[in-house]
Subunit: 340 residues, 3 copies
Amino acid sequence: MEQQRYYGRDLICTQDWERDELEEILRLARKMKEHRYSPKYTELLLHRTFLMFFYNPSVRTRQSFEAAATELGGHAQFLEPGSMRLKSSNTAGETIEDAAKVMSRYAVGIGIRILEDRIAKYGDGDEFLREYASWANIPVLNMADDKFHPFQGLADVMGMRENISEDMRGKTLLQYWGHGALARSWCSVQESLLINSRMGMNIVLAYPDGYDLDPDVIALTKKNCQNNGGSFSISHDPLECYRGADVVYSRNWMSPRAYDNGFDKQKEIKQALTHPEWICDHEKMRHTNNAYFIHPMPVDRKHEVTDEVASGERSLIYDIAENRLHIQKAVMALTMSTEW
Amino acid sequence: MEQQRYYGRDLICTQDWERDELEEILRLARKMKEHRYSPKYTELLLHRTFLMFFYNPSVRTRQSFEAAATELGGHAQFLEPGSMRLKSSNTAGETIEDAAKVMSRYAVGIGIRILEDRIAKYGDGDEFLREYASWANIPVLNMADDKFHPFQGLADVMGMRENISEDMRGKTLLQYWGHGALARSWCSVQESLLINSRMGMNIVLAYPDGYDLDPDVIALTKKNCQNNGGSFSISHDPLECYRGADVVYSRNWMSPRAYDNGFDKQKEIKQALTHPEWICDHEKMRHTNNAYFIHPMPVDRKHEVTDEVASGERSLIYDIAENRLHIQKAVMALTMSTEW
Amino acid sequence: MEQQRYYGRDLICTQDWERDELEEILRLARKMKEHRYSPKYTELLLHRTFLMFFYNPSVRTRQSFEAAATELGGHAQFLEPGSMRLKSSNTAGETIEDAAKVMSRYAVGIGIRILEDRIAKYGDGDEFLREYASWANIPVLNMADDKFHPFQGLADVMGMRENISEDMRGKTLLQYWGHGALARSWCSVQESLLINSRMGMNIVLAYPDGYDLDPDVIALTKKNCQNNGGSFSISHDPLECYRGADVVYSRNWMSPRAYDNGFDKQKEIKQALTHPEWICDHEKMRHTNNAYFIHPMPVDRKHEVTDEVASGERSLIYDIAENRLHIQKAVMALTMSTEW
């Protein structure tokens, strides 16, 4: 392994990394899962600090990143900027430059999570991470922003390879809008489109009118499909889209109007609940190619998917959740460790 | 030691464990106290994660559990569900099943603290823990719920054995209601009744009219006394009850009416303060068998007990507080470690 | 090194320690910076707990103390008393005696940060720390109180020695009031006056009328200057004071009237902003002896100092921020480790 190729790198979106680099992450994550507490891995970040900034709360992301640091011998600090004195657009405080430069003296890496309700418009969260990364001398990892969620995307791929096939080329992923009560971010869904299209899957993107995603991401996804031998299509039919699917990923996302007059979560939820036919259930799954079910969790059961499917024997949700840990350990080790 | 007997076990109430199993905990805790940072113990949870959920804030419990994980080589994550997205009875969110199953992939154990002001009615907190435990594949430890507080009970026993006698059979414990300004949970007191009655102590339970505890716990305590050679009595006289006591445990608890129209702490406090004669003081202690004073802390000085007694030479409060750490280390090691 | 001289000591203000003891801290910090993750240092607090109480939030202090514990092999618990049950002057709760005595059983040291908005009058924060220290059997470290900030003062000295001269005797420090939007504590500035006067520097203290500091600290600073061969003067001219300075430390502080009717931060800020001429800029720096710029951060750019100076090549702000970590590791190792 050419470790110097990875040392010091940021990971903000999988699209920023080469295909073979993503393969290296997946390979190492698999080994780390197999030998979880092996001394080969438990000293890679020994006594080192990883700083986690949660502008938005989180369950799995916090637990899995903090556990990842622990399992690599290091320590993750849990920081919530609400109780800190960082500068915002309209309050006095510290610049990102000053904050990032000092953190680079204390730590070996920074993770940041910032979603739609903490920003003024779509794209600001991702830009905030990229500004942080431009000033920091240590890797900045995206723990989910308003556009991308690279560790979720990699965990999805790892879970499908383990359970379905080592080679997902030619298989069809249905990326499906589930109605729901949580008005979710675009990040997991867009990351899935980008990474799975690069892995050679056929992509069917299905959602009701009015729920278009970022056109730049869609354009990139199409290009990825072309470059990697997959097909891409969009459907607005909640049932027809299931035909031929090998994997169904049913997940709510908010509409592009959500930011129009400031992020109004309740309005989004109300609107989403007018589409009860958009649910992944056993009846629809019967039209697939005996598909597996995936989801980044937390699952909004009875809206995005029925209990029967989510807890069914072809559901991969817990394996994928576990893979978050291993993928994160692999990336932290590759980008932050000097102990190889 | 038959380690496989303990691996994977939950500890929600000491009554759920056999007597000889409790003895094993106490024996190991004693050794861990004697050899606190010995390599025999500092690698038992090396690089492992323990998840602590504090639905209610805590001083000693948080400090001692987090230190316990550190001293065993692991790391405890401090999680406050107020800043997390778990499902509650009237909000969308994740099911306990999903949360518990994913945590079982990241961690080697889960601690939960949930008290009366976070639940609708008495018993709900304990039931919540038991539901968590039913889904989790890793041990669930009760860091205090509305009914029980097993680690406090074990620390009490350990402290009495160290300072009074290795064999507490036949000695008398006065479990005394102190008036106070904090409207305390029943958990410590009920755990004390259950565990000390199993240890063969005579139990005198004393409180003013209107402060009955859980009748199921009282019935179990009586049965424990019968089975282990101790006596059990209830007194409503704030002074007479002291006669013959070897240990006085003066602690406030709220009335069974506290839940009637939603938990109203201020009303409880106001009511409790109408009983100023219910205080453990030097004068009353003179009627005992030169008794020791115990308390789970924090002590509400001048209400539950006078400074003279709480800081007196027969007060065991700091030793018992310290023992929380050692007991918790012992249980975590027994139930979570694969490194024996 | 006579380690027993340091073991168990508190550090609340550098003035409480002997000169040669401060030199020992600085010497060890330098070695720890040079050999940051050397096994010589990473086991000094192995598996030990350091408790951090943040009555006020913090960026650098929290990150650097938590990283310091990690790099010494231990673990720092992040505690915010807002979510805890400690006694305050007008609420029931635990006494400092009880809290400190129990913590002494769990941990090897306690850090406390408490600033002006959490206390009733100037001096109360420092007194609170000293009361804690009187009850605790383990070291109490001042992570910034209303009067002093010893780790900042030591980091300043270390940064100047590294970048300017190993011997700062005879060089001139301009301690300058910068106008600003943050109404800052006196702690960093007063600690700087006390420690740099002991190091033999000439001190010029400059501020507009109405911004006098603690007269006791000023008297001590004068005496330190006399005892160590330096001069001391006060200026109220925002420009003239720069003449001859070797180091400029421009930092806002609040007025002594800030506590008059309860701490009113907004009123202080409004008042400070009426002095826009009090800013450290390139033009003023031209009158110095080619001075270096120092600041404890966070920098209030465009108020305390211009970007040109703060980010200029003679700015030492990032080095000094990094030194906080090394100084803290050195003091924690000296006062808390039994592993030498």
